[in-house]
Symmetry: D4
Subunit: 164 residues, 8 copies
Amino acid sequence: MKPLVSIIMGSTSDLPLMQQAAKVLDEFGIPYEINALSAHRTPELVAKLARGASDRGIKVFIAGAGGAAHLPGVVAAFTPCPVIGVPVKSSNSIDGWDSLLSIAQMPSGVPVATVAVDGAKNAGILAAQIIASGDTAMLEKVKAFKESMKEKVIRANEGLKEKA
Amino acid sequence: MKPLVSIIMGSTSDLPLMQQAAKVLDEFGIPYEINALSAHRTPELVAKLARGASDRGIKVFIAGAGGAAHLPGVVAAFTPCPVIGVPVKSSNSIDGWDSLLSIAQMPSGVPVATVAVDGAKNAGILAAQIIASGDTAMLEKVKAFKESMKEKVIRANEGLKEKA
Amino acid sequence: MKPLVSIIMGSTSDLPLMQQAAKVLDEFGIPYEINALSAHRTPELVAKLARGASDRGIKVFIAGAGGAAHLPGVVAAFTPCPVIGVPVKSSNSIDGWDSLLSIAQMPSGVPVATVAVDGAKNAGILAAQIIASGDTAMLEKVKAFKESMKEKVIRANEGLKEKA
Amino acid sequence: MKPLVSIIMGSTSDLPLMQQAAKVLDEFGIPYEINALSAHRTPELVAKLARGASDRGIKVFIAGAGGAAHLPGVVAAFTPCPVIGVPVKSSNSIDGWDSLLSIAQMPSGVPVATVAVDGAKNAGILAAQIIASGDTAMLEKVKAFKESMKEKVIRANEGLKEKA
Amino acid sequence: MKPLVSIIMGSTSDLPLMQQAAKVLDEFGIPYEINALSAHRTPELVAKLARGASDRGIKVFIAGAGGAAHLPGVVAAFTPCPVIGVPVKSSNSIDGWDSLLSIAQMPSGVPVATVAVDGAKNAGILAAQIIASGDTAMLEKVKAFKESMKEKVIRANEGLKEKA
Amino acid sequence: MKPLVSIIMGSTSDLPLMQQAAKVLDEFGIPYEINALSAHRTPELVAKLARGASDRGIKVFIAGAGGAAHLPGVVAAFTPCPVIGVPVKSSNSIDGWDSLLSIAQMPSGVPVATVAVDGAKNAGILAAQIIASGDTAMLEKVKAFKESMKEKVIRANEGLKEKA
Amino acid sequence: MKPLVSIIMGSTSDLPLMQQAAKVLDEFGIPYEINALSAHRTPELVAKLARGASDRGIKVFIAGAGGAAHLPGVVAAFTPCPVIGVPVKSSNSIDGWDSLLSIAQMPSGVPVATVAVDGAKNAGILAAQIIASGDTAMLEKVKAFKESMKEKVIRANEGLKEKA
Amino acid sequence: MKPLVSIIMGSTSDLPLMQQAAKVLDEFGIPYEINALSAHRTPELVAKLARGASDRGIKVFIAGAGGAAHLPGVVAAFTPCPVIGVPVKSSNSIDGWDSLLSIAQMPSGVPVATVAVDGAKNAGILAAQIIASGDTAMLEKVKAFKESMKEKVIRANEGLKEKA
C-alpha cells in the first residue's frame, strides 16, 4: 500500500523514540514510510523527499529532531502537507528546551504542528486525526481509540480504589 | 456555508490576535465559526461545543489561550478532530512560556498541534493544510499560497538589494 | 466516615507521590477519597466528580498532574471548593517547569492553590490547614504538628552538633 | 467587625496590586486587615503579626511579595493558618520567575498556597473559598460568584458573535 | 570588488540590525553582498546562494534570524565556509531564547559560529578576524581596531573620573 | 576559641555539602560554629541565633538552603554581619534555579552575598576574604591560598602536556 | 582619604546604576574610587587595577557588568579582596539571566559575592557590612542603618493603614 | 610543525570533552597545542598565552569552559585571532545554561564564536573551516568531510529502511 504518512528523523539514534509513532500508525492501519535524514548533513535529500511527497500521495509528515531541531521546519519549507514536529530530548539537547523552541517557534507562513517533547506517540495519533478529517472510516477509528483510552483509565482507577 | 473550522479563544481579549487566523481562513475560502469561551469559567459550554463539533461537520479546531492555557487541551479531550493550539502571550503570561508549555506538553493520547507563541496566522494556515489533506482543490490553494509567499520574499529582497 | 478531601491524580503512575498527601491526611485523621482520572482522557468523569463534590461534603480537593497539568484547573472549573494543585515532575515533564506553570498560572476567577513541584506532602498539610480554618479541634492538631516539626529540627541539630 | 483575612505585602509599592485582593474580599463581605511589612527589614513585626493572628480570629493570610519573595513563607512559619502567596512581578523581579519560585517551592512541612504571578484577585477568591469550607453562607456566595462569571463570559461571547 | 562576506537575513525586517554587520565590514574595507531570503519561504534560493558561494569567492557567511532561527544552520548545510549566526530578538521571539538556542545548538558535523543575541556588530568583527586568519594586512587592521577600542575606553574612563 | 563564622543550613541533609565550607575554614584556621535550623520550621531559633551573633563575636554567616531558600535572607534580616548564601541543588529543587533566585534576588536594604549553586567551598573562601579585610595575617593566608591554587593549575597543565 | 572600596563597571553606560552603590558608601562615610574599564577591551588595565588594590588599601571591590558579565570574576582573579558582583540588566542582556549566571556561577577557588540583578544599592550596603566586620564604628553604623530602615517601613505601614 | 590552533580549557577535567576537538584537528592534519589553564586561578598565564599567540603563528583558538565560563572571552580580550568557545556542561553547571550564556553573550567589540553545549567536535570542524578560508587545500578537505558525512547518513538510512 502506498504510504500516507512520511516519518523522518534527524538521526538513526532517534529511531527508538520515533518507532512509537510508527506503532500508532500500524494500530490505525495507516501505511507509512520511514527515513533518517539530516537537515544539515543531507539537505538535498531532505528537500527531495519533502518536495515530491504530496504528489506521491503523502498526506502528513512526522518529523523528529533534537537540539537545534531544524528538520521539521525544513520539511515544511518544501511541502504543502501538514508537518507534525516531535522535539527530541536527545543527549545533546538542553533538557528538550532547544528542541521544543526550534520546532514550535516557526515564522509566519510556515507552521509546524508541534507536539510535546518526546511526544512521538502523540504525533502518530495526531497524524491519524488529520487523515480522519478527510476519511470517515478513520474518524470512527479515532473515536474508538478515544473510547478505549477512557475505558483503560476507568479500569485503572477501579484497580487503584480496590488497593487503596 | 457550514463551518469547517471552529475557532475558540479563552477570552474576548484574545480576539485581535485570533482574528489573524480567521483572516487566513477567509483567504482560503474556508468557512468557520468563532467563540470566546473559557475552559475554567464555562467548562460545560466548551465541552458541549467540542463534543458535538465533529458531527456538525467541523474538521479542525483552532484554540488560543494564555497563561495556564488549558483551553486547547480541554477541547482536544472532547473531540476526535485535530486541535491546533495557539499559545497567547497575554498580559498575565510569563512572556509566553506558560502558554507554550501548557499547550505543547499534552499527555500521551491527547495531542494538541501547537504553533508558535502568538502564531494565530500560522494556525490558520495549518488548518488549511489539514483540510487540504483530504481536499485536492484546497491542496492547490496551499501550493499557490506557498508560491506567492516565495514571490513576496524575492521581490522584497530585490528591493533591499536596490537600496543597499 | 464521609470523605472531606478528594485526592485526584492524572494517572495511576502518580500514585506513589500522591500517597504522601493521603498519609498526611491519615495522620490528621481526615477522611478522604482517592481517584486517578485524566482531565484529557476522561473529562466527563472528572467533571462529574468535581461538580457533585461540595454537595457530598467534600471541603478541599488535592489534584496532582504532570506536563501540561490541566487536572487541578479543570477540577477548579467545576467546584466551589478550594483546589490544591501538586505539580508532578513526571518522566514526560521538562523538569517540572511545565507542570508548575500549567497549575499556578490560572486565569482570573478560578484560582488553584499551588504547592511545590512534587509537594504532595505539603498539599496534605495545606488541606488540613484549610479544614482547620473552620474546625477548632483540627486547628489544635495543626499547631501540634508545627510544634512537633520544630522539636524534630532541634533534636537533629543537637545530633549534628555532637557529631561535629 | 473582626478581620478574618490578613493581607500583607512586602512594600507599599505592592499596594495597587494587593488592593485587588481587598476588593474581592469586600465583594464577598469578608472583613480584613491590611499591612505592608517587610520580612527582611521588619522581621520581628512580621513574626508578631503572624504569631498572634490565629488567636485574633484570622482564618487566612494573603501575602504578596516580589523578587526573593520570602514574606509568604516567613508568615507561614509563624501561623497555623493557610497562607496564600501572591508572586509580584515588580520592577526588581526577573519577569516574575524569582517571585514565583521563592513562593511556590516551599520545603516540606510549611506549604504556601501559591497563585499566579500578579494573581492578587485570585488570592481574594481563594481566601473566600477557604472560608467557605467552614461557612455554608459563604459557600453559596462562592457558587453565585462562579455562576455570575459564567454569565459574563456567555454575554461577552454573544457580543463577539454579533460583531463577527 | 568581489564580495568576501555574504550577509543573509531571514526577513527585511532584520535589516536595521544586520546593517550593523555591514557597517563594520565597510570599516574594515571588506566587500560583501547582502540578501534577505527566508529558509522556510524560499528554501531553494537559500540553498542556491549557499551552495555556490565558496566558488564565487565568499569566505564567510553572516546569517541572522529570529524565533525558530534555522537560516544560519540551513546555510551551513550547503557551504564549506564558516557561518556566523546572529540570533535576532525580533517581535515574534521569546526574548531571544528561541533564536539563540536554534542557532547555537547545531548537531555534530555542522557548526554555526554563534554570537550574542542581536550581536550583528560582533558578527562583522568576527568575520574580519576570520578573514584575517589568512590575510596579514587584515590582521593588522584587527589589531588596530582592538587598540582603538582600548583607547576609547580609557578616554571614557578619564571623563568619568573627572565628573565623579 | 570563639567562633568567627556561623555556618547554618536549612536541614541536616545539607551537611555533606556545607562541610566543604567548614573544611576551608579549618584550613584557614578560622573558628566556626555549625547549625542546621530551618527558617520555616524553627523561625524563632534562627532569629535568636542571628540576632545575638554579632555580639558573640561572629563576623560572617554562611547560610545554605535549597528550593524556596529563605534561610540566608532570614538570617540577614536579623544581623548586621555579612551573610554568604549558598544555593543548594537538593532533590526538591528545580535544578538549583529556585535556590539561586531565592537567595540572590534580595530586596533593597538587605543583601545576601550569593555564591554559585552548591558553592559551599567558595563560601568558605569568601568568608576568609571578608575576615581578611580587617586582619592582615589572614590576608597573607588568602594570598598564599591563591598562589597555591595557581601552582596546582600549572602542575596539572604540565601533566596534561606530557600526556598529550 | 584613601579609598577603601573600588567600584568598577564594564562601561560608562552602567554609571547611573553603579552610582547607587557610591551613594550608599557616601552615606556610610566610606571613601571609594570609581572606574569604568572593560574586562574584554582593556584587560591589562583591569588586571593592573585589581592586582595592586590590596596594597593600596582597598578592602572590597564592587564590580558591575551585563551580558556575559566577566568583569567581577576577572577582578577576583587578581585580588585577595572580596569582590561584590552586580549583574546589570542592560539592553544587550537577556533580562538579566546572562549577567546573573556569569557572575554567580564562579568556579571553585575564586568566589564572587553576587547581589541581585541591578542590586547596586545592596552592593554598597554589603561593602559596608564587610568593612564593618573589622571596624566597630562601622558596625554601629550598619546597625543604625538597619534600625532606620525598620522605622521607615513602620511609618509607611502606618500611612497605608490610615489611607485604607 | 608549528601549531595553527591553540586549544585551551579551564580545567583538566574538561580534557575528555576537549580531546574531541583535538581528534578532529588530527583528522584534518592541523597541528595544535593544548593547555588547561584557568582564567580565574592563573589569569597571567592565560593572558601571556593569548597575547603572544598570533605572533607564534596561531590562527584560531578553541576555548572550553563551564559554569561562569569566562575563559573564551578572556582569551578573546588578548588576541586578534578568532576564538571558538565551547560551553561545557560540567557538574557545577546549571545544565549548560550558565556556560552557554557566559560564552555567547559577549559585549560589543569582542566576539566569541560559540558552538553548542559540549560541542567540542564542532569546534574542531569550525577551526578547520576558518583555516580553510585562507587555504585552498584545507577547503578541499572540508568539502570532502562534508561529502563523507552525507554518505554516512545515506548508508545509515539504507540500513534503517532494511530493518524497518
